[in-house]
């Protein structure tokens, strides 16, 4: 799909008929409710001293922050954020660098088996990670990586190939070919052309893929809960499953800890929302 820029939307609402208007507003209201209902409830509950006594959307009698303070002091959340950041960060760098190399070759060069490579990489989108549970688990054990952060880095670097591959490949195909030819004429080799010319130009596309991959790795639960047992090494989502027992009846603590866990991605999103929306809509929607 081409990334044409156009001034659309200029008309529209002014001449919407009654029925369309009503349907639109219902959809928008629904979108708001779906997005905000659970989170609002969670935040409200986390501010109540005893969420049991005032359930639902009743406002707290007084704002009670004890849960937040104790989460930071006793639960060492910063450690889990550190783990997540480390694991997601390293694996994103590895996968994005390797995929941006391969995507370049597939986007720009002619060779035998090119189609096969595309199909193989595309097919990974539809291979369920859960189906591969045991072989991967076994591999991790045999590499003596069980219960190490390295295991997760390995898994995240190898998984999610398809999305990054296609995001980056699409970006390459929008770069004019003349640039490479000019570089070639100037005496650059293939590797040099890639590093000095293509990579810098494709940075926005590669960054998009990186951000998407980072979020999905940050939020990944299945593998994280499978290969890590040591609490000290856990990532944020894996920590969640220990909550119900850790906070037996301390609901204020439970809710506060959950708010703290979901907050960083939300804040990150608020800062980069423009970027995200453009990435997911293929550049057609301006954030």
């Amino acid at each position: 799909m081409s990334v044409t820029k156009r001034k659309q939307q200029s008309k529209g609402a002014n001449n919407l008929s009654g029925a369309t208007r009503v349907v639109t507003y219902i959809c928008l209201a629904w979108a708001l409710i779906v997005a905000l209902f659970p989170i609002t409830w969670l935040i409200l509950s986390s501010l109540k001293e005893n969420p049991m006594a005032r359930p639902g959307f009743q406002l707290p009698e007084a704002i009670y922050l004890e849960g937040y303070i104790s989460t930071f002091l006793d639960l060492h959340v910063m450690r889990y954020f550190g783990n997540s950041l480390l694991i997601a960060g390293i694996s994103v760098i590895i996968s994005v660098v390797t995929i941006s190399m391969s995507a370049y070759v597939v986007a720009r060069m002619e060779f035998k088996g090119k189609k096969l490579v595309s199909i193989l990489l595309y097919s990974t989108m539809f291979i369920p990670a859960t189906a591969l549970t045991y072989p991967v688990y076994n591999l991790i054990n045999r590499l003596h990586l069980y219960n190490t952060r390295g295991a997760l880095i390995l898994i995240y670097s190898c998984s999610g190939i398809a999305v990054s591959f296609f995001v980056i490949k699409n970006y390459y195909s929008n770069i004019p070919k003349d640039l490479e030819e000019a570089a070639r004429v100037d005496g650059c080799g293939y590797v040099q052309t890639f590093i000095k010319v293509i990579f810098p130009i494709a940075r926005p596309g590669i960054a998009t893929a990186a951000v998407l991959a980072f979020f999905s790795n940050w939020n990944e639960y299945y593998w994280a809960s499978l290969v890590l047992i040591d609490r000290k090494k856990m990532t944020v989502p894996a920590l969640l499953s220990t909550f119900t027992t850790a906070f037996a009846t301390n609901y204020n603590g439970l809710f506060s800890a959950m708010v703290i866990i979901i907050l960083p991605p939300i804040i990150l999103y608020c800062c980069f929302s423009k970027f995200f929306i453009e990435a997911l809509s293929g550049g057609a929607v301006k954030g």
Partner: protein, 318 residues
């Protein structure tokens, strides 16, 4: 791939190029082999082996006369397989029947110029940024009978109600479905992106023909974004088919909510008597069923695409 390309190099430049291609392709292909190819082959091969906690290290091939032993066990003896398969297929179907239309409706709403639409669009994405494990945890609290919010709502209609809906057969399935199915931010944006690239002239022409608002959406916009609707349907169906986190956090398979992913993990890792061979038999079925689902959706869409060409108005874009 190395030998396939070998004959291609005629001169030094060609050789250099081949080297470059191999060098740049290698890391991704290695990752692919480690994480996808090798496991898939193992899964498939060992689904025909006796392999459990008694012979952890060396799987034993059943032999051709008892080739289907693991599958027989899964189909006839394992108590949760059919329930899990049925549930997963229902979730896949709901992805196409409920999730995709919701994504589409909201994308259409976002495509109109109404006040505040940008803010709502940005807010709508928030749940997609949170880990699905965290969402499941939040809903676990919402569904809690003593301090959650669902029971008080049910009590408005049925004052006697005091059960945990996650433990009731039927309601548990619905509750689990409602937890994830309305979170459609990513797919909504994908559709929205495709709606936005439709040229303004097309809308204007439609307007002159008297098609505006919903009518325009139905007759003009919809046929033009069929391709992305197919992709979104496939994404929704496969993710519904593969549900794991939701089951793990909300019900742990109680009250008839097992999913295929959940039983694979239970057979392979969590249960004290791990049964790798049987887990891999289920995994093989999961991979095959996933392909069948994708195929079915593709067939459905190509049938409806053909119909649209007959009525005209299609294929102007993309």
């Amino acid at each position: 791939m190395a030998d396939v390309q070998a004959y291609k190099k005629k001169n030094r430049l060609g050789r250099k190029k081949t080297g470059f291609i191999l060098l740049f392709l290698a890391p991704t292909m290695i990752a692919f082999c480690i994480f996808y190819l090798y496991p898939i082959i193992t899964v498939f091969a060992t689904s025909f082996c006796k392999w459990d906690y008694t012979n952890m290290l060396n799987p034993e091939f059943f032999g051709f006369d008892k080739l289907w032993e693991n599958y027989k066990y899964i189909f006839c003896k394992y108590p949760y397989f059919w329930e899990a398969l049925r549930n997963s297929i229902i979730w896949a179907a709901l992805g196409v029947v409920i999730q995709m239309p919701i994504s589409l409706l909201i994308a259409l709403a976002f495509s109109r110029k109404v006040k505040g639409v940008k803010i709502i669009r940005n807010i709508y994405m928030i749940p997609c940024m949170i880990s699905s494990a965290a969402i499941a945890m939040i809903f676990l609290q919402l569904y809690n009978p003593s301090y959650g919010i669902i029971n008080p709502i049910i009590r408005l209609f049925n004052p006697e109600f005091s059960d945990n809906i996650l433990l009731l057969k039927g309601p548990a399935f619905i509750a689990l479905t409602c937890e994830y199915i309305f979170i459609t931010g990513t797919t909504t944006l994908m559709i929205l992106g495709n709606i936005m690239v439709i040229p303004e002239e097309v809308r204007e022409a439609a307007m002159l023909d008297g098609a505006s608002g919903l009518k325009q959406d139905w007759y003009i916009i919809l046929p033009m974004i069929k391709e992305i609707l197919r992709t979104v349907s496939i994404l929704a169906a496969t993710s519904g088919f593969l549900i794991y986190n939701e089951v793990y956090f909300l019900t742990k398979g109680a009250a008839g909510t097992y999913s295929i992913s959940y039983i694979i993990r239970e057979l392979a890792i969590t249960s004290p008597r791990t049964q790798f061979g049987r887990a891999n038999a289920v995994a093989t079925i999961q991979i095959l069923m996933g392909m069948v689902i994708i195929l079915v959706i593709n067939i459905l869409y190509s049938i409806s695409l053909k119909k649209k060409i007959y009525t005209g108005k299609d294929g102007n874009v993309q």
